[in-house]
Symmetry: C2
Subunit: 145 residues, 2 copies
Amino acid sequence: MSITAARAIEALRAEGRRITTARRTIIELLGATHDHLTADHIATAVQQAHPEIHVSTVYRTLESLDEWGLVEHVHRGQGAAFFHLAASHPHMVCEECGRVIDVPGDEFEALVARVRDVYGFDIDVAHNALMGRCLVHQPRGHSLA
Amino acid sequence: MSITAARAIEALRAEGRRITTARRTIIELLGATHDHLTADHIATAVQQAHPEIHVSTVYRTLESLDEWGLVEHVHRGQGAAFFHLAASHPHMVCEECGRVIDVPGDEFEALVARVRDVYGFDIDVAHNALMGRCLVHQPRGHSLA
DNA sequence: GCCCAGATACGAACACTTCGCATCTGCGAA
DNA sequence: TTCGCAGATGCGAAGTGTTCGTATCTGGGC
């Protein structure tokens, strides 16, 4: 089990929440991958080990873990949201190929600070993905060369 | 009719596309408001004047107008996307009250340029809304005072 | 006015997510 | 160890936002 997954489970225990099969399995799955998984992917993977775990349980579990700050979800444009263990960094999703790129949050610090000052709005950069085009899908094949 | 709506209809004509009741009504509606309307809102409003116009027509019309660059849609987190006449600026949506704030695109220029240089990713800042909290919904009532 | 590619009405289907409710279970107390 | 019960789950149905198939209709060029 990854260190982060172990920590998440420890956090559950520390707050007096139940460690159930669904919760443990989902957390371990998220801890074991760096992929960006949708609830449905997670349900499918979880059901390989525990076929009795229902999709709605996966949704509810993810919602709870999200609320408790142990996992986060990111909304893509139209498709399903994807989930990962709490890490709070922005994501960029290519509109052409769906590729997800992680960005360190500090790239956004200046913008977030300015928007807070000027517009009185506190941006949560990690909640919605930024859509756009990755380098192989830019108009007229623009490259870095 | 607003100037922008008139322009959009002119653009349709110039490209040899048909000016139908659905298209004209939707464009005029979008031109007459600064609100951020979902497809469903648009359908409801359109149907007050033309009850025969079907929701699916509204969706298809919006999709076409979007494709032709006359309107744009913005994805909120979980709820429905909202539409407006082409303007291409980012939006910020309060997670608490759903309020939508428009931001001039140039606030993002530095970030977009840097991300393009460093990550080879071309962000489309207008496609997904930025989620967060407006000033009345910030944690611990933080204000600008 | 006639014609037909393109647009529409209608409803069914779809993908993703939430809900209600009966049953079950983790875990603290006895 | 067993007991009790708040909280978690299984299951299916419903909800929401959107897309699709198909028969019919219509804008606008002739």
